[in-house]
């Protein structure tokens, strides 16, 4: 990039006649116009490339020649290897997911009148910083389902389909007729008989965790040919146990507690307690032991550990897609506007359904746009830094590591500039095909 070599290049494309200078400018004037840009580019972009290249072959102090040692570290250093692996995951998934969503959004928004409003909403995250997006998603991914909206939704969905447990931490109190049956279940010490009234008192459920439909517990009445009983919280805050093993007026029934009658290891009958804690079992349960199965007492489901070691990278990719799907959508929508409607209509007239039109006509016609969008996002993802730096908590940052982050760590906190330079040269090598493609395409245009 010295003036001599560029000016002396033998096969410089001929200056197109049509854009010959209108002013007959002297070369000195041209040089003045170009000087600020070329000096800054030379000092801030070109020189660093050369410097990094040279630096990557020297050791960490910069004094000794190190050959390819720094590059070998790319494949032996644990931190860099994790970063490489994660970068591959990023480059494969983030651009494809964002492009696929962009395509779907672009096609579907054409069918609604408020498509522009929708596009505005999805494109908006492009305007904000990755730092702000990072903070936004730290909030979203908060582990506590009472704070993080991701887990709030996830737990909500989970509990809709899987029965949530009602009585975590409930356990028998003193002199209880119940004993632990293993696996978190409780079982009566003695078998029960028809006509008998069974009491199944437990303690330990925090008042605010009692089911909403729990009513004041009622002692059951004996019934012929049946087993009746009550299961309730034998404890009231401020009043203690009252009469131990007896139903006191202030105590609440375990509404919804599941009860099984077990005879010889087999469940012969089962029921669920009413709001006041009473239950009734048929004669079949005669001689069985009553068991309160373990799923009454499971810890409540707490959602996913989004920012834990195993999910952190997919979670951050999710936030990236949130930011960049809008970019893909807008570019693809622009491409879609250029697709001749006649082609789509012709396919429909020929009897193709919407899916076939999409699959066989729209997507092939959009292929060049889709390729440009995907490649652009890939270059972008290669250098991903801010989102990982902000969203991954300290405890899982090693698991979420990417090359740009590792470069920052090696270069600026571990003081290993040789290795950091090797990473930067590696990143540069990865974008060179795109650089070459850009130049080739423009060379044709410049010559025109």
């Amino acid at each position: 990039m010295t003036p001599a070599s560029a000016a002396g290049a033998p096969s410089a494309p001929a200056a197109p006649k049509s854009r010959r200078s209108v002013t007959g400018t002297r070369k000195a004037v041209a040089a003045l116009f170009l000087l600020p840009a070329l000096v800054l580019l030379g000092a801030l972009v070109v020189y660093p490339i050369g410097y990094s290249l040279v630096r990557s072959f020297y050791d960490q102090s910069g004094d000794g020649f190190a050959g390819f040692d720094n590059y070998r570290a790319l494949f032996t250093d644990d931190g860099i290897r994790t970063a490489l692996k994660n970068n591959v995951i990023w480059v494969v998934f983030a651009p494809t997911v964002a492009t696929a969503l962009g395509l779907i959004f672009a096609v579907l928004t054409e069918r609604v009148r408020w498509g522009t409003a929708f596009k505005l909403v999805v494109f908006m995250p492009m305007a904000i910083s990755m730092l702000a997006a990072g903070i936004i998603f730290r909030l979203v991914y908060d582990q506590d389902p009472d704070k993080g909206v991701a887990n709030a939704v996830w737990v909500g969905v989970h509990d809709t389909f899987a029965q949530s447990s009602a009585f975590p931490k409930a356990h028998p109190g003193r002199e209880s007729p119940l004993r632990a049956a293993g696996g978190g279940a409780f079982i009566t010490k003695e078998p029960v008989r028809t006509g008998q009234v069974v009491t199944l008192p437990l303690v330990g459920v925090a008042p605010d965790l009692m089911p909403d439909d729990a009513e004041r517990a009622v002692a059951a009445r004996p019934e012929d040919g049946k087993i009746t009983g009550t299961t309730w919280q034998d404890f009231t805050r401020g009043k203690g146990v009252g009469k131990l093993g007896g139903v006191d007026a202030s105590e609440l029934g375990y509404a919804g507690m599941k009860i099984e009658a077990v005879k010889d290891g087999k469940v012969v009958a089962s029921t669920t307690a009413a709001g006041d804690g009473t239950f009734t079992l048929p004669a079949a349960a005669d001689g069985a032991q009553l068991r309160l199965p373990a799923d009454n007492f499971k810890e409540p489901y707490n959602g996913l550990d989004w920012l834990g070691p195993s999910l952190v990278t997919p979670a951050i990719i999710g936030s990236y897609v949130w930011m960049w799907a809008g970019f893909a959508m807008v570019l693809i929508a622009a491409g879609l506007a250029g697709v001749p409607r006649e082609l789509l209509e012709a396919a429909r007239v020929d009897g193709a359904n919407e899916w076939q039109v999409f699959r066989r006509v729209t997507v092939p016609l959009l292929a060049p746009v889709l390729a440009v969008v995907t490649v652009t996002l890939m270059i972008n993802v290669l250098k991903i830094f801010d989102l990982v730096f902000i969203i991954a908590p300290g405890s899982s940052q090693d698991d979420a590591n990417v090359l740009a982050l590792e470069l920052y760590r090696k270069g600026f906190s571990e003081d290993r500039p040789g290795v950091a330079s090797a990473i930067s040269v590696f990143l540069l090598l990865l974008v060179i095909p795109v650089m070459w493609f850009n130049i080739r395409r423009l060379r044709r245009e410049v010559r025109r």
């Binding site: 990039m1 560029a6 000016a7 290049a9 410089a12 854009r19 209108v22 002013t23 004037v29 840009a37 800054l40 580019l41 000092a43 801030l44 972009v45 660093p48 490339i49 630096r55 928004t109 069918r111 609604v112 929708f118 999805v122 494109f123 908006m124 305007a127 904000i128 910083s129 990755m130 730092l131 702000a132 903070i135 936004i136 730290r138 979203v140 009472d146 909206v149 970019f327 006649e342 789509l344 652009t376 270059i379 250098k383 801010d386 740009a404 270069g411 600026f412 500039p417 950091a420 330079s421 040269v425 990143l427 540069l428 974008v431 795109v434 650089m435 850009n438 130049i439 423009l442 410049v446």
Partner: protein, 306 residues
């Protein structure tokens, strides 16, 4: 006759949602279309919510007291809207670190944008309309620099700035942003300026305008749309940057992104700083986004290769 034919072919592809063909189609297919149209709407509404909720969450979190934030999720505000407060914002604006860094953000962003536009226009004009040896090769060289990752320059420039005393200064951050903003600026503006009709420039030349006047009075005004796109893109790029400032600024010259980043480590304890801080840092970009949608979109679309 030809007019008739063209209007017909124009009309044919127009019918949306199959209204023209409805007479021929069976009730079943029309029903299926209605259902799928409804599904499309529901799907897009759900997706729109997915995109809106995270930002709304940040906004509402910033309007709650730290005690409320520690106790429950932001969606609880819908049951007790009276508990919303601007207290966190008031506290934040009393925090010198934050206010200084907001000023720094402006002090970095405005010059970095103006310089890129001016220097990029000068070079773009020279590449488009001046004659000098190897012009197109030089230009291709600049285009090649478009995709160079900023990461390549972090260590070398940190050492360079350290030697010449720019490390930790606002000027250093500005210079770095100008350097990496220029390839795109030159590329965009050269292509735009090259489309200016030759006659316009010649007419101005005949009126006796010199090179500088030609540039200032004819080329720059005509380049308005491209300059607007470039300016907005560069402005947002620099405003939103964290990495460059993280390395090249110090505690006195750091912009808002870096000031907030230092708080992230204690995430959870200081959400009352982070949430309003992040929202304040988003206000200007969002205002720019809504005010200049068209230029914003074209700028982002042209410049995303960075």
């Amino acid at each position: 006759m030809t007019a008739d034919a063209s209007s017909l072919t124009k009309a044919a592809p127009e019918p949306r949602a199959g209204t023209a063909g409805a007479g021929r189609r069976s009730l079943g297919s029309r029903l299926a279309e209605g259902v799928s149209g409804g599904l499309v709407r529901v799907f897009l509404i759900v997706v729109g919510l997915f995109w809106l909720v995270p930002t709304i969450g940040l906004l509402l979190s910033s309007l709650r007291t730290p005690e409320d934030m520690a106790a429950s999720g932001w969606w609880k505000v819908f049951t007790e809207p009276s508990r919303l407060t601007f207290g966190a914002y008031e506290e934040l604006l009393k925090n010198d670190d934050i206010t200084t860094s907001l000023v720094n953000t402006v002090l970095i962003t405005v010059p970095a944008t103006v310089l890129v536009v001016v220097i990029g226009s000068l070079a773009g004009y020279a590449f488009a309309w001046m004659e000098f040896p190897g012009r197109d090769w030089w230009f291709l060289g600049v285009v090649g620099l478009l995709v160079v990752p900023v990461q390549v320059a972090l260590i070398p420039i940190a050492e360079l700035f350290g030697e010449i005393g720019l490390f930790g200064s606002i000027l250093g951050v500005i210079l770095f942003h100008v350097g990496f903003g220029l390839p795109f600026a030159v590329f965009l503006l050269r292509n735009f300026f090259a489309e200016i009709p030759r006659e316009l420039l010649e007419a101005a030349r005949l009126d006796g305008a010199g090179e500088l006047r030609l540039f200032a009075r004819v080329v720059m005004p005509l380049g308005g749309p491209a300059i607007a796109s470039l300016g907005i893109f560069q402005f947002l790029w620099v405003w939103n940057d964290m990495l460059v400032a993280l390395i090249f600024s110090d505690s006195g010259s750091q912009p808002i992104t870096v000031a907030l980043q230092t708080q992230v480590r204690q995430f959870g304890n200081n959400i009352d700083v982070l949430a309003p801080g992040a929202f304040i840092s988003m206000v200007i970009p969002l205002a720019v986004f809504f005010a200049f949608q068209r230029q914003f979109v074209s700028g982002v679309m042209a410049g995303a290769v960075k």
